[in-house]
């Protein structure tokens, strides 16, 4: 079914490839060893919905523990959602084994740390060919031909194919990881902090490479990041997460011109300035993210929110759309 040619079909930019609907992931918490009983749930991801579009990038930002990585794991089918569905080109991926299989090869990942995400005992050509060996029924010669093409695509040379990962610098390793992710002509790539482990001067190279490849292959990216400047540069859409929920989801320009949720504003104020004369409104959040085991009542953000009202601690805010595509969950709107 899947060979080099059949998966070459490219979607139009902006077409919805993947939709996550009301995704939830609860991890059970148990007590006792022999007669363990359930004492509660960690609501790592609690009812989130979003869409990934061909040729576009969705950025997911938030503090540690807000559910970014769990969301990424669900997208990669490394975690089963407790509730909700992932629709890939209109079909629920958890429904049939056939959809599941094609989904798995259509969604790939690039991880944060290129020192641990590449097998040190494999040669570059085998690392990049591995997904093809598993998923495609093609000859060794075809595989190698494709490996060479991929190496060229990510800015490396053919002679690199016989080397081992330790012979490369951090930036080059991240290029290898990207080449491996591209091997199966995926439609969606989940990028988990792809540049934060790299040096400043190398970050720009990798970000530009990712943008160029997106232009060429019309692949959809889901970018997990904590640096808002990176998000502004890379993304088309941004989802701001807090304690397992998306508190604000918006096109990137709209979010930066008109940040609306108090948490988004606080994140932007906490971000480092680009110039010493940049004036920033000082909204320094007190305290840390509460435990998802026992989240606050009402709006989860109210204990840290500078604009909290009485009803915030009681009522859970609904999702509201304040302008086209810009939705948020807050009683202020």
């Amino acid at each position: 079914m899947t060979t080099i040619d059949s998966s070459e079909t490219k979607a139009e930019r902006g077409q919805i490839l993947l939709e996550a609907k009301n995704l939830k992931k609860y991890f059970p918490v148990t007590k006792g060893l022999l007669f363990s009983r359930l004492t509660g749930h960690i609501k790592a991801v609690d009812d989130i919905s979003f869409a990934l579009r061909a040729g576009e990038t969705l950025g997911v930002v938030g503090e540690s523990g807000c559910g970014k990585s769990t969301t990424a794991k669900m997208m990669l089918m490394l975690e089963e959602p407790t509730e909700g569905s992932i629709l890939f080109e209109g079909e629920d991926v958890h429904n049939s084994a056939a959809v599941r299989k094609s989904y798995r090869s259509s969604v790939q990942a690039v991880f944060q740390d290129p020192w641990s995400s590449l097998n040190p005992r494999m040669r570059v050509k085998d690392i990049i060919a591995e997904p093809m060996v598993i998923n495609w029924n093609i000859t060794k010669a075809e595989q190698q031909e494709r490996v060479m093409k991929l190496l060229n695509d990510v800015g490396l040379n053919e002679y690199h194919s016989n080397l081992f990962p330790h012979e490369f610098s951090g930036g080059q390793r991240q290029r290898l990881a990207i080449a491996r992710a591209l091997a199966l002509n995926p439609r969606v790539i989940v990028l988990d902090e792809p540049v934060s482990a790299l040096d400043v001067s190398i970050r720009a190279q990798i970000m530009n490479l990712l943008k160029d490849l997106q232009e060429e292959y019309k692949v959809a990216y889901m970018l997990i990041a904590h640096d808002l400047a990176t998000v502004r540069y890379m993304c088309t859409w941004v989802a701001v997460m807090y304690l397992g929920q998306i508190v604000e989801l918006s096109p990137v320009q709209e979010l930066f011109n008109n940040p609306s949720h108090p948490y988004t504003k606080a994140l932007m104020s906490a971000a480092l300035p680009s110039h010493p004369d940049t004036e920033v409104e000082e909204v320094i959040l007190q305290g840390e993210v509460p435990s998802p085991l026992n989240p606050p009542s009402g709006c989860y953000f109210h204990p840290r929110c500078p604009a909290a009202m009485d009803r915030c601690s009681v009522d859970k805010p609904e999702v509201k759309e304040i302008s086209e595509g810009h939705t948020l969950t807050c009683h202020l709107f």
Partner: protein, 330 residues
Amino acid sequence: MVTADTRIDTEVILSVDDLRTHFTTRWGTVKAVDGISFDLRKGETLGIVGESGCGKSVTMLSLMRLIPIPPGKIVSGSIVLDGEDIVPISEQEMAKIRGSKIALIIQDPMTSLNPVFSIGDQVEEAIEIHQDIPKRSITDRALEVLRKVNIPAAESRVKDYPHQMSGGMRQRVVGAIGISCQPQVLIADEPTTSLDVTIQAQYLKLLKDIQKESDLSIIFITHDFGIVAKMCDRVAVMYAGRIVEHGSVRDIFNNPSHPYTEALLASVPRMDRVVDRLYSIEGQPPPLHDLPVGCAFANRCPVVMDKCIETYPEIKAVSDGHTAACWKVE
């Protein structure tokens, strides 16, 4: 090299002159720090920026006299701290200075605290070694320092172990140890890279408050221009073991004069405006054991001239208090 700036009237607390720290390896001599000079004044924050392998951390280790000998050695230069050159003094004398006059906060709070001692013990240890005060007051002093770094409910948390605290809290404890003996110079080596943005903002604000209160001089070692913009008064940009540009933070951001500084600034995405395409510096820094005779940046420089490959450029003044090592500077 004496640099003039807005704080010219205040006293120089740390003066580094032509410092060279080399390592002997089987590939040859690695010139990790090769002739750097700078002054740090009271209450001032100096940022040292550059890529990995440019010599930032070896500079920091040299200032603390923590270079592993062998293979490393401070081959020449002086580090004058509060009127005393700390390069030739004995290890015993240095041990007295380290922690009391010059202190260090390192990057990773997960590994810089000892997991088997309570945080109270670890703060007390530093005080006990450097201050001649009775045991009872040591505990009080430790509490006071922990309150200073805004540890909530410090009285009950002194008995906690590092694993019971979050990353931000742990980094505060490391900060508390750093300032416990009222040092004159605090070196912060990427203190916030492992923290979340909101926690980072809290921590940087705390450092600023402490600095204001006690007229502390801080050296920030970082690769993040955002931290430089937020925290520093002066900046030294390092490349391949040397300072290539040095000036006030506004000089560096408004009028970068070394092509490397310019390239670094252009390669950072910005939050306040739309950037169509980032500038990317091609290539890699040269290996430090095999530096070219000319300018080390020549092979990556967009405005390279023949002269650059032949001879290393002298440090020249761009304006008052702003210097750059580049042939382009007239």
